[in-house]
């Protein structure tokens, strides 16, 4: 067969870019070290853990969106077989503390009290009211039925615009449902707009999404009562932050808490939190002096684990008649849900700096209103703020192109930052260190056959084909690698953005890399092994990576925001550099040479000019262990650590192109072709990068076409199970064509940018732009997400009526 095989071409090309030198680990398509356990079932999920005498906790949840609790009686539950204890919120009121929000975005932000178990009032369906502890999970679940609760129902408010009228207050003590208003500006939008020939205004809705990591949340707390010590096993992305927060919330001394995140089955932001059940399990384990386990059921998790997105975006773009952008005005409403979780109010702020995306303009005006409603709290979901921003700008670029009668790619090309203009400080004040939008776009256009598909589109339009073809573009960037601590401080975030690494050189020359990141699918064990193998000149197989245990890896800021490689992986690289510095001094001593004359290459130290005088890093490690013959005054260790605080965010970018077939009779959308060319800087392991892109695409496409969390007017989650909330299957998704360009980041020594969220951020607008493009001749200018057959059909009826 002579047909072109873009997939194979892509694999080959990427390898050539990444691995010019075969001896280097970085850039190699290494199969993952993590897999052996995972494909054989030798796993350690939190719910697998059993301890002698362990009891199971179950949580009774509010069936009402908003109600006053007038009575809770757990006495009948205590009579049920196997039940050990039962507590109401009032019973635990003195110990349970309040769940933390680490991001008070404004000085006057309304920050409601958030008890792990509601005491006086419930504010969303799923709010915890009482707990039962029993000898097995079935007995605990049974006993929930015996708890009597009297509620006095209060009105629900589920719609943000309704909530902002303050007719129904979610928190009556706050006096308003407005959590905060956060304004931000670069340049003067009104001045920019006054010069405009064209102004396009749109309202886009970011529907509510449910992250749905495949592993439900689970926590086990094992106490040593006599010593007041607690080991907390949790399916969390943030073991280090969780330890600190559990100490602060419960008053337990921090050094008496050890948090372990065992195998964690995905997170996507949903496990980047401090949850009521983690606090409750600790409080109950303290009370009972025995191990306590809680594992959510999926349907329970749909109410009690954070949701994502849920914004109303009013966006206005101003341009001249030749398509030169002048300014952008963004007014957001962001649904907080009923309470603030760990970073709830900060999520839309992470998008604030990204609305201008890759484009040059004079002015950006941004305002975000955080709003309380009687719904499950929202928080970070893959991309967190940046998918919303990217969606809005990439959608309105298409709308502007249509208004101007320009090709949408031409409009983008006219306005994006040219590769020779980097580093470039944007209207939002960020300095993009590097990028090459021209290169990524050229590659994507070629793989996609843009011109050929446009011709087919013209033909289908001319033929009045009931199945129309649409082409969608997303030329995106994002800010990731969270984050420079000083920037987080300027945004009022409660912690820094550094990451820690430590290298332990064992006497046999094997290496333990201790990382502060907390992988849950990202392949850090493999990738960090590659980084360390190169930096230390040891075999890939000789490296082990230790993580996600506050006692074994004591310092860390954990995994989210596409930060792990850019901050944590770079920390590993820099810590290895310190090992080599020490080892060089030892080698010089042993080789009886001046340190300046010793060179390190390929895992060996040699003396300039006499290559036969040589010591391997393993020999130096053993000599250090013995330390019989050691440099005067030097500590006998090669072990080194590094805490890396990034100087800037990183800015991955890329060009995604999507072709869809839309059946105008049924509203059904089929993705015909999807091409993603991503520039994530230097690549450590192409296999892992491709996998991250694939998964990211799936989640972004899921928002575009399939997923939507819905509430009825009374505040009931009507998509409360996996039957009702549609997570796409293998049959729903297309084969993706992925490729890369590599423009190294200049802000870190590895040149890496991060890849965890890129696919999700880029793909949603590419797909929706394609759907709208297919239907634009029929008068359709938007299809609300998800672009389900119903939404497409309704848009056609409305568009056609114009």
């Amino acid at each position: 067969m002579s047909e072109i095989d873009p997939g194979a071409v892509a694999l080959q090309a990427a390898d050539e870019i990444s691995s010019p030198d075969d001896s280097r680990e970085v850039g190699r398509r290494r199969l993952r070290k993590e897999d052996a356990r995972l494909v054989t079932g030798q796993t350690n999920w939190t719910d697998n853990i059993q301890f002698p005498g362990m009891v199971h906790m179950a949580v009774l949840r509010s069936p009402m969106a908003h109600a006053r609790i007038t009575r809770v009686d757990v006495s009948a539950a205590l009579e049920r077989p196997g039940v050990v204890a039962a507590y109401s919120g009032r019973d635990l009121a003195d110990e349970q503390g309040a769940l933390p929000c680490a991001w008070p975005v404004t000085a006057d932000m309304k920050h409601p009290n958030h008890p792990p178990l509601a005491v006086d009032e419930v504010r969303y369906v799923g709010d915890g009211v009482a707990v039962v502890v029993a000898r097995d999970r079935y007995a605990a679940a049974d006993a929930l039925e015996a708890i009597e609760v009297d509620y006095e129902q209060l009105p629900a408010v589920v719609d943000m615009e309704q909530a902002l009228k303050d007719e129904v207050l979610v928190h009556s003590d706050l006096g308003t449902n407005r959590c905060f208003t956060w304004p931000f500006a670069g340049g003067d939008y009104d001045v920019a707009k006054s010069k405009a020939d064209v102004v396009v205004k749109r309202r886009f809705l970011q529907q509510r999404l449910i992250p749905t990591a495949m592993e439900p949340r689970s926590v086990v707390v094992a106490p040593i009562a006599a010593a007041d010590e607690y080991t907390v096993y949790s399916a969390t992305q943030i073991p280090h932050i969780l330890r600190l927060m559990l100490a602060m919330v419960t008053g337990t001394p921090e050094h008496k808490i050890r948090v372990i995140a065992p195998d964690v089955g995905g997170g996507f932001g949903s496990k980047l939190n401090v949850y009521a059940e983690e606090v409750l399990a600790l409080v109950v384990a303290k009370r009972l002096g025995r191990p306590v386990k809680w594992t959510e059921t999926r349907s329970e998790g749909y109410q009690a684990t954070i949701h994502g997105r849920d914004q109303i975006q009013d966006i206005e773009i101003a341009a001249t008649s030749d398509g030169t952008l002048l300014g952008l005005k963004v007014d957001l409403m962001a649904d907080m849900g009923a309470y603030l979780q760990l970073v709830t109010p900060g999520v839309p702020l992470l998008g604030a700096f990204m609305f201008n995306a890759i484009y040059k303009m004079e002015a950006l005006s941004f305002t975000c209103h955080g709003v309380f409603t009687t719904k499950t709290p929202t928080d970070a979901y893959r991309g967190a703020g940046r998918p919303e921003a990217t969606f809005a700008i990439e959608r309105i670029m298409d709308e502007l192109a249509a208004e101007l009668g320009m090709d949408p790619m031409e409009l983008r090309r006219k306005n994006w930052i040219r590769h020779e203009e980097f580093p470039y400080t944007t209207v939002a004040g960020l300095t993009y260190d590097s990028g090459n939008y021209e290169a990524a776009t050229a590659k994507a256009m070629e793989l996609f056959d843009y011109d050929g598909l446009r011709r087919e589109q013209d033909k289908r339009r001319a033929d009045k084909d009931p199945v129309q073809l649409g082409i969608g573009i997303s030329t995106f960037t994002e800010m990731c690698g969270l984050a420079p601590s000083r920037v987080l401080g300027s945004l009022s975030y409660g912690a820094g953005g550094w990451e820690a690494a430590a290298i332990r050189m064992l006497p046999t020359g094997k290496v333990e890399v201790v990382t502060g990141t907390a992988p849950h699918g990202q392949g850090h064990v493999t990738a960090w092994s590659q980084i360390a193998a190169d930096a230390l000149g040891v075999p890939f197989e000789d490296v082990e990576v230790i993580h996600s245990d506050t006692r074994a890896a004591p310092q860390g800021m954990d995994t989210y925001g596409s930060r792990s490689l850019v901050v944590g992986g770079v920390a590993v690289h820099l810590a290895c550099g310190k090992v080599i510095d020490k080892a060089k001094r030892v080698a010089a001593h042993l080789l009886e040479a001046a340190e300046n004359d010793v060179e390190f290459a390929g895992g060996s130290f040699s003396v300039k000019g006499s290559p036969e005088a040589k010591l391997s890093i393993q020999e130096v490690a053993l000599a250090t262990f013995a330390s019989h013959n050691f440099p005067e005054g030097m500590e006998p260790t090669l072990n080194s650590d590094y805490v890396m605080d990034p100087e800037n965010f990183s800015f991955p970018h890329g060009t995604h192109l999507c072709a869809v077939e839309v059946d105008t009779e049924t509203g059904f959308v089929k993705i015909r072709k999807y091409v993603a060319v991503d520039d994530v800087g230097r690549v450590i392991n192409p296999i892992i990068v491709e996998g991250q892109v694939h998964g990211g695409l799936a989640q972004g496409i899921a928002q575009a076409l399939f997923e939507e969390a819905l509430y009825d007017a009374d505040g009931n989650l009507t998509t409360g199970t996996l039957v009702d909330y549609y997570v796409p299957t293998a049959a729903d998704l297309p084969r993706f064509t992925t490729d890369r360009t590599e423009t190294p980041a200049t802000s870190n020594p590895l040149g890496v940018k991060g890849v965890g969220e890129a696919g999700t951020i880029a793909s949603t607008p590419a797909v929706v732009n394609a759907v709208v493009d297919a239907l634009r001749p029929r008068g359709v200018v938007d299809v609300p997400m998800p672009c389900s057959p119903e939404h497409v059909w309704r848009a056609l009826q409305q568009g056609g009526a114009k």
């Binding site: 199969l31 999920w45 195998d263 999926r298 998964g695 293998a730 998704l733």
Partner: protein
């Protein structure tokens, strides 16, 4: 309580169980076969897929008593003499897993699919795995792994698109 006799991954067990006990909880909590995880409560996700007398079932949808007299194979019993099943190998070689939580069920479903149809097309693989959800991979590498295990793809070969 009901008395059941099962063979799980080649080992015989006799147990008294509550009639309502789900097979997956019997495997995990009574037998300690924790390789098979639970991902939902509505039989949608397929993470708990095992083989019951050689056929794939979602073990959250089967009662332990229904496994009486039956042979159960879980992900932990799929390798023979320490040699991974071709589907396990292909999942590793094709990077068909990230967090790995769906993997046991996905592999067991894929093995069943190939037993039924040893030479599936890409579309047949996608439709055959519709009952198993993965949130990490976007499925592409899973599909390729199954095609590779079926001999439809060579190791490292890309699918023609």
């Amino acid at each position: 309580m009901a008395r059941i006799r099962t063979t799980v991954d080649g080992v015989r067990y006799d147990d008294d169980v509550e009639p309502r006990l789900l097979l997956v909880h019997y495997l995990r909590e009574r037998l300690g076969r924790t390789g098979t995880p639970v991902g939902c409560d509505t039989s949608n996700c397929g993470a708990c897929t095992v083989h019951l007398d050689g056929k794939a079932v979602k073990s959250c949808t089967v009662l332990a008593v229904q496994a009486d007299g039956a042979e159960v194979t879980t992900i932990q019993g799929l390798a023979t003499d320490g040699e991974w099943h071709p589907v396990q190998k292909a999942f590793h070689e094709r990077h068909a897993l990230q967090c790995g939580y769906c993997t046991p069920g996905m592999i067991m479903a894929a093995v069943d699919l190939l037993n039924e149809n040893p030479t599936p097309s890409e579309d047949e693989v996608r439709e055959g795995l519709e009952g198993n959800l993965c949130r990490c991979t976007g499925y592409q590498n899973i599909v390729d792994a199954v095609l590779q295990a079926a001999g439809q793809l060579k190791s490292g070969e890309a699918v023609r698109s």
